[in-house]
Amino acid sequence: MALKVQPLQCTGCRICEFACNYHHDTTISPIGSSIMFYFEEKKNYYGLMVKRDKSLLLGRPEGEKVLLPGEQIEGAGASAKPILLRVACDLCKDEDNGPVCIQACPYGVLSVEGA
């Protein structure tokens, strides 16, 4: 099972990022999340990245792409680089109501594939 992103439904509200951080360390902050918003603001080019155990999920406006170790990050600028240092998504396995990012997103962007 893994988190899935529908990038074009995303509006860039970033609540998934903050909810994920809350799951990991019980605070409101953008810095400790497994999911990360990246943004080329003047081009309005944005999407979400998810740090998985052995890969990165890149949810770009053009579509999803899974990056394996050693592959270059494409379609995400410098704002996305810190994702490599983040803790991997654990699908909120200890949360009663499932992944908090899915609970928090008002737009139905996120789901669990293989569930």
């Binding site: 509006t11 509200c13 970033r14 903050f18 909810a19 809350y22 902050s29 943004f39 309005n44 379609g75």
Partner: protein, 448 residues
Amino acid sequence: METMNTYNGTILVVDLDAQTCTTEELSTDLIEQGLGGAGINLLLYEQYKDRNPLVLGSGLLTATFAPAACCGVMTAKSPVTGQIAHVPFGWQTGVEMKLTGFDFVVILGTSPKPVRLWLHDGLSDINDAADIWGKDVWASVDKIREAYGDEMVQTLIIGPAGENKQSLAQVCENYWGSKDKAGLGAVFGAKNLKAVAMRGLGSLEVAEGFFQKCMELKNEIVGGSIKGKAGLYDIGAALGIDATALEKMKTMIHRNNAAYNCPYPYYTFLKYNEPPAAMDMKGHAEPGCLVSDIAGFAALAATGSDPARAFERCCRFGLEPLGTAAALKKQGAGDVAQIDKLAGTGTAEGIPVWPVCVDQQQAIMAITKALSFAVPPRAPFSQDGGAQTWVARQAVAYLLGIDPVIMLLAPELTEEKLAALVALAADWDDFSADTLKKIANAVITKST
């Protein structure tokens, strides 16, 4: 009361005359009196009123999981009304300021030279702005992000109109317009303050059960009045904005964006330098413009100019679009190039008036001129409660840091539910909707 779940506990005082930054503690007394946002801003404004203060304040719930808790509020004397004005700042800027570690920023006096204020990680610097003074907003934001090495730096910034102290000037949020209809761009310019740049990687504590309560309220909103609607277009259509302008907009819609934690995306990105459906990043470097002001867009269209390109010029020069359209109309000019000249000569003729809902706007202005008409004068998707209700609910949003447009769109955000979130977040057992309404009403009374 437990303040660490809502605030960092710090007020920054920036003395531009002396070029110094000092901090003060955000006391529990101040929070009990003013709650936050416009409420505490007003108390700080009074405290420093002899120093021409410009106060930036976080709402009590800003940056929390409360739905639409994305805004801060700027408070200063408006060059448009001559009275105190409260202007919400949102997009990602309100959240960013709180996460820098500063809940409130009081900016006093006038800098002897152009400067920008740099807030980050609990630190504040007054930096020289000679490299961006005279540049337009887009070029300046690029330069600031390059200088601080981070493309997620958020800015409240002015263009040439603000530098020239024109009352038609608007404080911009990054590259785009804002809710500033009060000429606070000229206040920045008069202080020789080009920008407040912010990068916040701080954190706030979360009270037990708060996340779940916020999710319940968010789900109620998503399933309520806004269900099935999106973007500026739907708001405009519901309000009766000119169909020609709306259809023009429709041909350029790229994506609808939302500010932090907002359940309705009313920031609509228009692409006109490449096909709107283009989703990759390989195309035009500046493919279009983000628009959140439907009244301004429609008014620019009514001048005969290309409304999207005219809106972009307003953003670049830091001009308020609705007033700009009125000035263009007065000149009989529909030429986009005429907008550039207004950066040097743009005088606002009072608060800009919407092309629709005029009677209700007049009724609201008879109560107060202290709040922003970037927010439509009536609710587009639900039964409207009239001018008194508009003012009362907006004032609550300005205290708590709730996006004022979402406050209007979502009647599910009741004072009772918001008061319950405050009580839970701040561990403030006896806090009630009555207290919330009373403090909100006092803000209006004292600002008018």
